[in-house]
Amino acid sequence: MSGETVGHRTLIATMGFDERHVLPSLRLMPYDRLVLVAGRETFQSPGFRRLKVLEPGLRTVRVDPFDLMGALESIRETIRRAAGDGPVRISASGGTKILTNAAILAAFQEGVEAWYCDPDPVRLPVLRGVSLAAAFSPAEGAIALALHGPIRYDRLVAAVTARAFARRTVLGAIRSLAAKGLVEFERDDGTVLVRPSPRFALFRDQLREVPIKT
């Protein structure tokens, strides 16, 4: 496919007990390395054994297929490791609903091509190379580092401007984080406090990945 770098092509596929949900992906997507993401019981199933006969070199990643956040983290990690070797594609057609959703979410967060083949192939509108970390500016990353709990607005601005950001940039970044639903404001005795929203913790990893001025 055009626009991709040459290298080891990895296909990461989710799987349940029935390998027939995975086979259309293997037929439609060229790959050099196959990684199967599934729950423990899948790896003991006849479907997996049949697939292993077809693809003896396949690698496996074991997840809890009923834990969306845990599966999401495992798939993201798998994508990152594979991305160093070449293009990565996701097939999210097999396994539990939760595992499928984790794979879709991981593909969007890491910016890798994702397909749903059950049975007809549907390509999901993921922008290749556009990861979640790209949604944050360096100033937003610096704010995230300074934000551990409620903090006075002016103190937060001072802390981040001290890291060589213009005041206007910092104010814009605070507004942007609020629009993204990651920080909230509260008034306390005439003072404005900025605090991380309950969703902030869900993005702490991505915010840490944003390149920050030193």
Binding site: G3, M69, K97, T100, I104, Q109, R128
Partner: protein, 211 residues
Amino acid sequence: MTVLFGTLGWRPQSLLPSIRSTENLERVVFYHSDHAKSREARSKVMEFCRALGVTANAIEVSDAYDLLHVAGQIRADVRKDRAAGADLRFNIAGGTRLMSSAALLVCILEGIPATYVHDETYQEIALPLLRISYGEGLTAKQRDVLSFLVRNRDKDFTETALAKALGVHKATMNHHVRELEAKGAIARLSDPADARRLIVKPTPGMELLVG
């Protein structure tokens, strides 16, 4: 006021925790299949909403096996409520895998806070989604080019024709096309009638990104 969207399968318990936990809940809109057990679950959710005095709209999805069709339908509904000024939430826990994934896709693309409900504990779990449209991963110019190509999917455009149609210089269009191609949003394909010409086409599914 908040409108809660949801997907429903056979178990009303997958949706009820979100109805209970949503502040300023004005309305519940949920999608379910035409399976008898799903209709049974719909009745229970409707009854629960009636008891709370909350308006509920149940939408039966006749073909719950077409991902992009279901996603397109859900997206049209959420956009209508968003345009009316409502805050939106989405519970993607119930329904078929395809229905739930279609809902997740819409939440990612539209930046809607989404939750799922744990199968055993019925605890609501927030998904890591930003309140921004996924299409913002493209520049305004890239969005213009992609929207134009999606609207005219049935026509063939070379880069030069595309530049002319959108009133930009060829070199500028080449830059946008290369950027869009690198992101996998478009592909340059050989013209079957003239192998020297490259036709620019949006990749499948891009309707959902800019439509």
